[in-house]
């Protein structure tokens, strides 16, 4: 077909698209192209929603999720809640290539990454630390708790289950357009 090859990606992350395209142009596979495109975004911290230094959790830590899938073999490699490793898509590729598993998570995924030669380093930046400090100063708003005490719409945790709150109605809360999965 005249319209192949094709690279498309979510959001206006131009450099990621071009990195993937260059990989194809230099003879790489579709899988290689996905890895290089996503890795480019991780390095450039696309919109603050990819890579290190973004989206701190309730403890101020940045963790990364990534997944890569080969549509020919239906093989998949993925990592969730990866700590202290910047190249999450690279680790996902190693899961695909060097294990028969699909998804590794958390500290154990980090140990796997280190065994595959990835360097462990802090994923926080001054920007993510400032974001976290600001969130604490706003009484931990917004957050994702419900049916707990103290009232999560007004207070920080730690939280415990609340029998009284369980009677209430908790409608779906919209996620920030600039803070997505």
């Amino acid at each position: 077909s005249s319209v192949l090859p094709l690279v498309i990606n979510t959001w206006a992350f131009k450099n990621a698209t071009e990195a993937a395209w260059r990989t194809l142009a230099s003879g790489g596979s579709a899988l290689d192209a996905v890895e290089s495109g996503c890795a480019k975004c991780e390095m450039e911290q696309c919109d603050g929603t990819v890579g290190f230094g973004g989206s701190p959790n309730e403890r101020g830590e940045t963790t990364l999720d990534a997944m890569i899938m080969d549509g020919t073999t239906m093989d998949v490699g993925a990592v969730g809640g990866l700590r202290r490793i910047k190249n999450a898509i690279g680790v996902a590729r190693k899961v695909l290539e060097h294990t028969t598993h699909t998804l590794l998570i958390g500290e154990s995924a980090t140990k796997f990454a280190e065994s595959m030669g990835f360097t462990s380093e802090n994923l926080s930046t001054s920007a993510s630390e400032a974001m976290y400090s600001d969130w604490l100063a706003r009484n931990c708003q917004p957050n994702y708790w419900r049916k707990v005490t103290p009232d999560p719409s007004k207070h920080c945790g730690p939280y415990k289950p609340s029998g009284i709150m369980a009677q209430g109605n908790f409608p779906y809360k919209e996620v920030d357009v600039h803070g997505h999965d």
């Binding site: 077909s1 005249s2 319209v3 192949l4 090859p5 094709l6 690279v7 498309i8 990606n9 979510t10 990621a16 698209t17 395209w21 194809l24 596979s29 579709a30 192209a33 996905v34 495109g37 996503c38 975004c41 991780e42 603050g48 929603t49 990819v50 890579g51 973004g54 989206s55 701190p56 959790n57 309730e58 830590e61 940045t62 963790t63 990364l64 999720d65 990534a66 997944m67 890569i68 899938m69 080969d70 549509g71 020919t72 998949v76 993925a78 969730g80 999450a88 898509i89 998804l103 958390g106 969130w135 917004p142 957050n143 994702y144 779906y172 919209e174 996620v175 357009v177 997505h180 999965d181």
Partner: protein
């Protein structure tokens, strides 16, 4: 989050995602991105797709798998993406979400759920018909 779909000139497909998730999540929370069929999915017999948005909702519907299955049945990529968004919207009208879809012939499309703060979705495209990557936008449903 970035979700990416690549169709090789020889027809092989691949898809992937990378994200640092949503801000101020409860530690341990994982969204749709690393889950096959949710964040992304690929199958050489049909095409590939990737989703982005509120991962807590998206991963309940396996939208990327659903989109690829629609395309396997011959549905146009844009329509496949739209059908996926519509299915989720029936349960969560206010969810933040968008999907990109491409089939093995190189046709592609995207769809998103319209919100007051999210009326258009931008995505990037590169194929032999253009000399550089191009930003395209789709109006949300």
């Amino acid at each position: 989050t970035i979700g990416m779909v690549v169709i090789h000139k020889e027809g092989s497909t691949a898809a992937g995602t990378s994200t640092n998730g949503i801000k101020f999540k409860i530690p341990g929370r994982v969204g749709d991105s690393p889950v096959p069929g949710a964040g992304a999915y690929a199958n050489d017999k049909a095409g590939a797709a990737a989703a982005t948005g509120d991962g807590d909702i998206l991963l309940r519907f396996l939208p990327s798998y659903q989109a690829v299955e629609y395309m396997r049945k011959g549905v146009d990529p844009t329509v496949a993406c739209q059908k996926v968004i519509s299915r989720i919207r029936k349960h969560y009208p206010g969810f933040l979400g968008a999907v990109i879809c491409a089939n093995v012939t190189g046709s592609y499309g995207a769809a998103c759920n319209k919100l007051p703060t999210f009326t258009q979705f931008s995505f990037m495209v590169y194929n032999p018909l253009r000399s550089q990557s191009t930003e395209e936008k789709v109006d949300c449903l």
